[in-house]
Amino acid sequence: MYFLRRILFFVPLLLVISMLSFGLLRLAPGGPFDRERAPASAEIERQLRARYHLDEPVPVQYVRWLGDALRGDLGLSLKYRNHSVADIILQGLPVSLALGLLGFGFAIGVGVPVGFFTAMRSGGWADWGGSFLVLVGICVPGFVVGPLLVMVFALELRWFPAALWGSPMQAVLPMVALGLYFAGRVARLMREGMAQTLRSEFIRTARAKGLGEPAILMRHAFRLAVMPVVSYSGPMLADLLTGSFVVESIFQIPGIGVFIVDSSRSRDYPLVIGLVLLYAVLLLVLNLAVDLAYGLLDPRVEHE
């Protein structure tokens, strides 16, 4: 019931989001058909606007858009006039999803072990070294990491291609560039969680019982210590899926991130609305999934 209510609540939320972005976008100066070359005449410009219904009052345009959207038609892009918004999303979304999930896998796959082991070696040189690297990962932004990776691994060592998308080799550097920051965050969460757990009573009890150290760490401590990572993984996945713009442009990856920035710059109204809604749905669903996962992992959480 709880989740049904949550899902039902999506409807008014999406309506408000679409209405707001529709209206705000049209307040921005400049229009989609402002080009270096002006339309040949005022009449041609009128025809052009009429063709895309830009001559109607904004509320009328919104209702028309909503009607089409409910029938699954998000309209034509005004910048890429041979492409529908759906075409663009269907082309770019799988790429961004793949990149985001690779980044997610990298962040978890690197962050969790690093956090785990630095916590175990707390105070030692491994902890210091690991924590320093983690800090670097968090502090250095993607637009620095990306070019550095290209310089070292693509242009100098020639292990990986410098850019473009399509083969697994081409996915490695973008994955690292995208995932490094998150790997750092995960490692810190994991380390703190682990350190805290290891100080708690039930670990002492387990040790007193004579359990072996691996069993204590893996079975008892890890399960509790990883909870902060689990609760962070939802927002992290959302960030990864929606925040790949920089990495996509560095590695020339045909994902959807570039369009988020580009479409609003070029006043491509239908594309902006389509993408805003897509991201809204993505975030809502991910949030819901995190709440769901929380309930499954921790029986104390009840959804009421």
């Binding site: 400049g30 005449s41 690779l102 697994p168």
Partner: protein, 583 residues
Amino acid sequence: MPVPTNALGESPGASLFPSVARRGAAVGEQGRTEAGEEGTSVLFPPRPPSSLSLLLSFLVAWVLLSATGCSRGPDADLTVLNGPDPGSLDPLLVSGIEELRAVLPLFEGLARPDPVTSQAIPALATRWDVSADRRRYTFHLRTNAVWSTGGPITSVDVLYSWRRVLEPTNACQYATLLDPVRGATDFLTGKTKDFASVGIRAPDAATFEVELEHPCAWFLDLCAFQTLAVVPRAAIERHGDRWVMLHPPFSGPYELESWRLNDRIRLRRNERHWDAANTPSRIVDLLAVSSPATALNLYLDHRIDVILDKPLIPAELLPEMAKRPDYHTFPMLGSYFVRLNVTRPALADPRVRRALALTVDKRRLVHRIASACEPADHIVPTATTNYLRGPGQTLDPVQARRLMTEAGFPGGKGFPKLVYLCDSSGGGGARLHERVAVELQAAWRQELGIEVEIRQVEKQVYLRAQRTLDYDLSRSSWIGDYNDPDTFLNLFTSVNGNNRTGWKDARYDALLEAASREPDMARRAVLLRDAETMLVRDAVPVIPLWFEAGFTLHDPARVEGVHGNVLDLHPFNAMRRTAAGRR
């Protein structure tokens, strides 16, 4: 939906599925093993599913990665960095230089630009007759012209394509190119709905006739212009806006195989094209790279054979790049200039505008900022044909100060602050505009005591502000559409939508009108020269800064058939990798 017939993207090939299935099985096994462990350890709670979710995320990513890339097919025979993604590949809708270059291989008109000189050479028409008064052109179409899908291309197709440009509801931005054709303007502006009144005929399948209002020096350039290329009526009427993506018949030397935004346009040679035997590269990829650094990396990595787009070389690297043997520049028909909004009270006085122009040291500016380009005292580039150059703008700060004093602003006293508007478009462009603005700002402050504020805004905001005359001074540029002074001088007539300075002068309009009616080319050149003098020396609604240089980055040892020409068109059907260029 017939997936393979859609050029939008490729579906995962059948060969992908086995690998996916195998991966799926592996996960299943692992899942069972874990469940088994859980079953045996009653005392201990189940392990968190983080390793499972990790595996799952990699698995899904792998599937998506395969689905989105690996099925691209063979490597291209030629990879060109043409510029940003075109807005469209429909000849009706294109206007940017990168769009024109991308449409060129797909759709062909009566004539096409020569790869070396960019002059119109026979294409769909093998020859043409011109009447004695040069007002009637008769084109004879080749008999072996066919669409990429078979079917002959006839004069009916040409007629449809030209009419489509003029149809007011199609709102073609380039429709005014057909102004020289008799009755075209009236039909375009809706004064008449009768297409028979337009001077275009198709008397038989192999003949196409055009009647002009008056002789037009660049008419054959128009026949080679992409807007007037021949397009397939049936596909357009069946598919609507997305027709070009849905494998329509193509009339040019290439077909569109696929187009993924932000990635590449893939062209495949049209084997039925009459000139297929002389089209060396079978598959051509046009990459859409937006980051200059990435573009250069790919070029240095030999993933790109030719770079045609100048803003894609990082501006900081340009001086370095210019020393490379694979960096080629050539004169082209483009002007970089400043527009002055004459409707602003401060700029209404021509003496003030002239003073501003007289204080700009263009040679110094170009030397410091755009060294490959040619300093400009005129608006019409030096390389233009049918062009006679008259007196232009000069550097004379002393006279400039005198003019300011005469206008009532000695030493700039009492002169309001001006705003210089420029755009922050992508690539190296934004940085260039900014540096120009700073140079001008310094010159005007130093020589005239005038304060100028620089405002850099988003491209769409900049364009709208320029169109609505909501600026004082604004950086501008214009690329010629055809090789004649008219393509530049026509901009500043009182009726031209691209004037955007608020400057109107009936005498200027009359000079251009007289030039367009003048059959004698020498006399016409004199009329155009007088018009230009009026524009740049006397009235000064514009301050030209430089004439653009075209540019290509390519190694002639690796790729041949890349030529610089004044229209900056580089037909791909002439390009090929050499033996050394093939990896």
